[in-house]
Amino acid sequence: MSWITARRRHPAAGYLVVAFVLVLIGTAYAVITGGSASASSPVSANSAQIAQGRNLFLEDCATCHGMFAQGVSGQAPGLIGVGAAAVDFQVSTGRMPAAKLGAENPRKPPRLTPSQTRAVAAYIQSLGGGPPIPSAAQVSTYGANVGLGQQLFVANCAACHNFVGAGGTLTDGKYAPALTQSTPTQIYEAMLTGPEAMPVFNDLTVTPQEKRDIIAYVTQVRALPNPGGFSLGRIGPVTEGLVAFLGLLFFMVLAALWITAKHGKAHE
């Protein structure tokens, strides 16, 4: 005790205490959340799961979407009939619950665990049906036709998402997000449900097999070599080239000024 007493006014003591408390809180948080994340998620919805989903919905979603998921005019859309796929997409990408009302809800670390997400999805599904969450087999890219996937992607997706899925700008601050982190399930759900400003590509227009082809293209194009730099969606280091060009131009102007400047002792 006297050891602590003697050093409690040391300049570093305050920082040490703060650091210790932070580590303590972090560890406790990791233990608590990690424990619930390890719970296995049943694929089929049951009444217990729906009840859990309802509770989570009331906690995290009802503020904006209304107590009965009916939606609030001018604030949030109704969720009856959107289906489990839409909920899984929005929550698993961290877009929902939204941090604030904005033009575009950005992708961020998900707030709910996968099992909690499926519970909320099951609850919304129970309200009014809609497209369900695709199974692992539905989004498997095994044996997919990547060439056809590219054709479909370029014709229907690349206008907004860029030809390698780097994303792009829309109106009024909205944007088409980059697809570099999207999982096959999320890509499938996005095509199926048309989140935010994205158009819908239902299974009759773009069949599940063709969706797998598109997913195969989006995921495999990531592995292609990138030309490097701020590549502007795989175009190449154009930005750096522009900066270097302008910088060199500036330097050459300075050099030209220096060469022609008056120098030495002026002769009468």
């Binding site: 054709q151 229907n156 206008a159 109106t171 158009p199 819908v200 590509f201 239902n202 009759l204 030495g264």
Partner: protein, 393 residues
């Protein structure tokens, strides 16, 4: 001293009085060409011939430093020595080193050219780097050496050089005229008009012939810009899969799909004009109005009701500004965007322009359903697709 700077001496102090031939020769030929100026030149004076731009003779240089009275005249000359001889010596070495290394770089260029093969991609890369690098170094060091030379060894003196008259002397002009007339007579060009006229006639086709080459810029597009391959009865095929599509399949509100005319999906020239975006709306979202022609508004700004099937509308995908594929669609705001210049079209109101440089709505393709339920075109576009052009009515 007095013999080199006596009045009337053709030094640079009164060079403004020199005529053009004297200027060229530094005044040494004075006395030979213009008879009027002959009196000023003392005969038999052995002044050394001087080249413009080189230091004056040693006698003149000594006067610069010692004689105050003559310095006003002599100061117009370039100083021979830099102010700081030690520094000049150092710069001299640097400049010489630059030039030597530049020369070595040139030698290296030749060696690299001979030694590095171009048999493989790697060799080509190495060869390009070595050749370009050595040549760049050569030119760079030549330039640096020249700049250092100019800045540190050559003096900075402002000199005014009076302009000489542009016209030749009357004697020269007279001589030229005489020579020309003699030549013209000797060639018989004047005497024999048939040769002269036939020669002139022969040159006319030579001048006109290049104009005929302009024909290769054609043929003129004619009416090809007015029409697309769309016509009544062609099915709308999903681009990529080539599958026809029914209204029942394309039933999700907010849906979009790129389609092309049956039989032309692989025809890039046709698809460049015929690409179409098919969009499904919710009931009540569309705002209907008449087509642009005939009898309607001059610019269509509503959805033509007879051209839709169950709230499905087909718009040209080619932007009416500069022809980019306007294919960004926001199903929440119903805006179609062109990525090139941000032209924005409102899909629910006939794809009329609501923002950007485009001036016309995206053309709407009349669609219907055939006996098997597939979506078909019920006619061609009734207006040209894509950017406006000169002859567009």
């Amino acid at each position: 001293m007095s013999d080199t700077n006596s009045p009337g001496q053709p030094d640079s102090g009164n060079s403004g009085e020199l005529s053009w031939p004297e200027y060229l020769t530094g005044g040494e030929s004075r006395g030979a060409v213009p008879p009027g100026a002959q009196a000023a030149e003392p005969e038999g004076h052995a002044r050394p011939r001087r080249v413009i731009g080189t230091p004056p003779p040693a006698a003149a240089r000594t006067l610069l430093a010692t004689d105050g009275g003559a310095s006003r005249e002599a100061a117009r000359e370039l100083p021979a020595e830099p102010d700081d001889p030690r520094r000049a010596k150092r710069v001299e070495k640097i400049v010489a080193a630059c030039f030597i290394v530049a020369g070595l770089s040139g030698l290296a260029f030749m060696v690299f050219y001979g030694t590095i093969g171009v048999g493989s991609i790697t060799n080509v890369l190495h060869s390009n780097l070595a050749l370009g690098g050595s040549m760049a170094l050569m030119f760079l060091l030549l330039g640096i050496g020249a700049v250092l030379w100019v800045r540190h060894l050559m003096p900075t003196v402002e000199m005014a050089e009076d302009r000489h008259p542009m016209a030749a002397t009357p004697q020269e002009r007279a001589a030229f005229k005489e020579t020309f007339q003699q030549g013209a007579e000797a060639s018989q060009f004047v005497k024999r008009p048939i040769i002269r006229r036939s020669l002139i006639a022969a040159t006319i086709p030579m001048a006109v012939a290049p104009i005929f080459l302009l024909r290769d810029m054609g043929p003129l597009p004619g009416t090809s810009l007015d029409t697309t391959v769309w016509r009544k009865g062609l099915r709308l095929l999903v681009y990529g899969t080539g599958r026809p599509i029914t209204a029942a399949e394309f039933n999700s509100p907010g849906a979009l799909i790129s389609v092309g005319p049956e039989g032309y999906l692989e025809n890039d020239n046709a698809m460049a004009k015929a690409a179409v975006s098919l969009i499904k709306f919710r009931p009540g979202e569309l705002v209907y109005g008449p087509p642009a022609r005939p009898g309607g508004p001059s610019v269509r700004n509503k959805v033509v009701p007879n051209w839709t099937v169950d709230n499905i509308v087909a718009y040209s995908k080619i932007c009416t500004h500069l022809g980019c594929p306007a294919a960004l669609y926001e199903q929440t705001t119903h805006r179609i965007l062109c990525p090139c210049h941000q032209s924005t079209f409102l899909a629910t109101e006939g794809a009329r322009v609501i923002f950007g440089p485009a001036t016309r709505a995206l053309p709407q393709l009349p669609i219907g359903v055939d006996s098997e339920g597939y979506l078909i075109a019920t006619g061609p576009f009734n207006e040209p697709v894509g950017p406006s052009f000169w002859e567009r009515s």
